[in-house]
């Protein structure tokens, strides 16, 4: 049984065109998959469908053999931790309190228990946020907020982690650290799926890429195959170039 199995997955907003159109894919952990594609290709919608936050109009999205959108929310969130694209803004709680929201799927008691606090400490440690625990979330920078939300997802201790543009507000140092953390999660046995516009970083760090174009999955494979330059040029309408430096590292650049 696959950890994630997408079969003929289709989604439309109202009577409009299909935002996600007949996607067939599957994945098992551990792994680090990037979902890439132009704006409006359906990347975030696909992530929402996997997270069970949207109901497909056709097809199915199965997690460990169960239909995601039909699972009880708490059970689903013990399997999948989802960090949405839009960072909540005016949250008057502290970093510690935000991270602890990751423990909601494990119990509806009024107060957190020792297990919850242990998971929170580990998440704070992994995201280097120990010194931020008493800081107000609303007073943090965009990048710090993104790290806190990632910590909350880690605190959720789900075997699958879905991240929608997690490095959108990060500087190069924090972005590099975030990718290292995602690789650590993969090494810890998790299946990590990331929506990103950074094709170069996806090529560098991910072991698999899903390329979307107008809701369709046009490539699914290892980065050097899925992100083949001619295909990227057709999808993004801009020339792409693969380079290799003297140390053998490959880079992906684009532009006319």
């Amino acid at each position: 049984m696959k950890q994630l199995k997408l079969t003929g997955l289709r989604f439309t907003y109202g009577a409009g065109r299909a935002v996600v159109d007949g996607i067939e894919a599957s994945a098992d952990g551990p792994g680090l998959i990037a979902i890439v594609g132009p704006n409006g290709a359906g990347k975030s919608t696909l992530l929402d469908l996997i997270a069970g936050q949207k109901t497909p109009v056709e097809g199915s999205c199965q997690l460990n053999g169960q239909e995601a959108c039909l699972m009880p929310r708490a059970a689903l969130c013990r399997l999948v931790a989802h960090v949405p694209q839009i960072v909540p803004g005016e949250i008057p709680f502290t970093v510690e309190e935000v991270v602890l929201t990751g423990r909601i799927p494990y119990g509806r008691g009024l107060f957190e228990n020792d297990d919850d606090r242990t998971a929170m400490e580990m998440a704070l440690c992994k995201t280097r946020l120990e010194g931020f625990r008493e800081r107000k979330f609303s007073a943090l920078s965009g990048g710090e907020k993104q790290r806190v939300l990632l910590a909350a997802a880690l605190c959720q201790e789900a075997p699958m982690v879905l991240l929608d543009e997690p490095s959108a507000h990060l500087d190069p140092e924090n972005e590099a650290e975030m990718w290292e953390l995602l690789k650590e999660l993969k090494a810890a046995g998790k299946l990590v799926i990331v929506v990103t516009h950074h094709l170069g970083l996806a090529a560098q760090h991910c072991d698999r890429v899903w390329l979307l174009e107008r809701g369709k999955l046009v490539a699914d494979g290892v980065p050097c195959d899925a992100l083949e330059a001619a295909r990227l040029e057709r999808v993004f309408r801009v020339p792409f170039y693969w380079h290799q430096n003297a140390e053998g590292r490959v880079f992906l650049t684009y532009g006319r």
């Binding site: 929310r73 969130c77 989802h82 909540p88 008057p92 509806r108 009024l110 957190e112 606090r117």
Partner: protein, 326 residues
Amino acid sequence: MGDDLRRRAGRVLLWSALGAAAVAAVCPFVGGSGMDYDRLWRGEGPDWGIFVNLRVPRTLLAFLTGAALSTAGALYQALLRDALATPSSLGVTAAAALGAVAALALGPGDEAGFPVVWVAALVGAGVVIALVAALGQVKRFASFTLLLTGIAISGVCTALVLLLHSMAGLTKAFQISHWLMGGIDAVEYSVLGWLAFMLAPVSWWVLRQARVLNVVSYGEAWAVGRGVDCRKITWQGFAAGAVLVGTTTAVTGPIAFVGLIVPHLLRRALGPDHRVLLPACLFGGGAFLVVCDTISRTVLAPVEIPVGVTTALLGGPFFVWLLWSR
């Protein structure tokens, strides 16, 4: 942090309960007309009768009403993630008033029985809150738009109340006018019993949702990803708020601003965590309305100001200050 929070929540619960109990214990002894305490201690009339049959039930009614309205205010503010969400701004109070006034105006006798008015107020509150919740979830209205919708609904309900008032006979029109001013009157202990019977389980349910309400206040996208069924909690919360507001409004008439002032003052003092805030709102709201009612019946004694006037005079400037400092 967890143990600290548990201890803090326990402390706030204890102190707010003790504070409310102290207020409720003292206020019945305060009144516009002098009371002979010797006769009262000996249980002799008329002081004993006034104390037991008028002041104590009135204090208890003020406490129950204040607790319900304040808890409903905090609940709506969490569900809509908007500081200005209250039973009044969502149109729930006006709808409950319309239901109750319809029962008073169209009822068969000179005075409609209390179950009829209760049911009518609950139906009014329930219909409006269902409409607001449906607009929020089906049409995906933002909280600001829902509040504008609530204001529009409130205007329509007020117009219909005035229409019913103008069409009612003299006796019923007076009865409606008195009721609309929002007042805490002495009621039978059986009515208080029924009120407590309806409010206690709903309030308990609201308190039990405190941790989930914290996450809901982060926004739907985040809450859903943490395992919260936002659609369900919103419907349940709106229904709970409608019961809290509808049942109390049926007995007291519309009392504005309690659901705004108390949660905001306490939020500023205690922070945003609903595990601390909601119990404080429950007891603090009760104590606040007991104090307002005591002011209403003593400050211009022997003339008695409807408590809705006192809360509005306090709440109006507070509302402006809140908008100013947002």
